[in-house]
Amino acid sequence: MSSYYFVIIGTRDNPIYELEFSSFRSGVSGIQVPGKSQFSPSVKEILPFISHSALDIIEDAQWSTNSFNLGKIDSFYGLMINAFISQGNIKYVLCYDANGSGTNGSSSPSLNKNDENSIKQFFTEANELYVKCLLNPFYSVNNAITSPDFDHRMKLLARKYL
């Protein structure tokens, strides 16, 4: 059971939406409550920093590929970092622990192709959700996304793909 930290970053490198969750896939069910992230407190508090430090790498990586999905761009003490960048320079960053939640090593060993793909799907659809949100006349670029509807849909996406 992996834990995930997902953040959308605006054009001025400002976070506009974040979400923490754990894999919704039925894996080895332990004591963890599905949906709640299992990051240890020390990791939890540096997650925003990790994703922020990934921004430089994203800036570089975006020129080396034609696709919006930049794939796995960084790792940090067992945390993997995937990123996606949109046409409007909105960055989507996903941090996750590849080896399950550090303390119990019961989850899948490493990332396989399938996960890569589902992360890509997740990013693509998250981007679509963001675009819909952008169509709301009361929302403007770089505002924090506070809509409960968006939050709800985002969680559904997470449940579907991760």
């Binding site: 819909k132 169509l135 709301n136 006349p137 009361f138 929302y139 506070t146 809509s147 409960p148 509807d149």
Partner: protein
């Protein structure tokens, strides 16, 4: 003599979007007008409602000519007929929706139009402030009220139009009410029956 006619009766419904095929552009334009008004008036939503109403009124006074020219509608004999005309013909040709006419009062002078869908409000979500004032005060589609008021005034019907419910505010449906104040008999142009 007989030039090819650009409009013919059968085309009336089909051809209602001529150049701008993308109705989202219309929705987004209206949206930015409303949100800009909110900013300009410092979130004084009553004022925003009033401005939207006034804009609608000016639109309605002009739009009625197109409505009459395209449809050839004649004077309605009863307010019930007017209601049908608004819903089945007016909304149909301009917005391609058909609101339901309900909730008549006993005297037949007030009724409701229930909008099952509202093309003005696609994508719209009212921002949740701490006090939720926007949900209490703003009638996002108020422009429609103005349009109806302006258009009906030009055919000598003095009406009040206002929203009572809006799905954007979390209500179960979008409903606006029309009340006939007066039929301005003296202003009916000579020559009608």
């Amino acid at each position: 003599m007989s030039k090819t006619t650009r409009y013919s009766g059968d085309e009336m419904w089909k051809n209602n979007v001529e150049k701008i095929q993308n109705s989202e552009l219309f929705t987004l334009t209206y949206g930015s007008v409303v949100s800009q008004l909110c900013r300009d008036f410092n979130n004084n939503y009553q004022e925003v409602n009033q401005q939207l109403d006034r804009m609608g009124y000016n639109i309605g006074m002009r739009l009625i000519e197109e409505f009459l020219a395209k449809t050839g509608a004649q004077r309605c004999q009863t307010f019930k007929e007017t209601a049908e005309m608004i819903s089945k013909v007016g909304f149909k040709i301009f917005l391609n929706i058909q609101p339901t006419v309900t909730n008549w009062t006993q005297d037949g002078k007030t009724f409701s139009l229930v909008l099952n869908e509202n093309p003005l409000a696609d994508f719209v979500e009212l921002p949740m402030g701490p006090d939720n004032r926007i949900c209490r005060d703003l009638w996002y589609s108020q422009v429609l009220c103005g349009v109806l008021r302006g258009a009906l005034q030009m055919v000598q019907l003095d009406v009040d139009v206002w929203f009572v419910k809006d799905v954007l505010r979390g209500d179960d449906q979008t409903e606006l009410r029309l009340r006939l104040n007066k039929f301005l008999k003296d202003e009916v142009p000579a020559g009608e029956d």
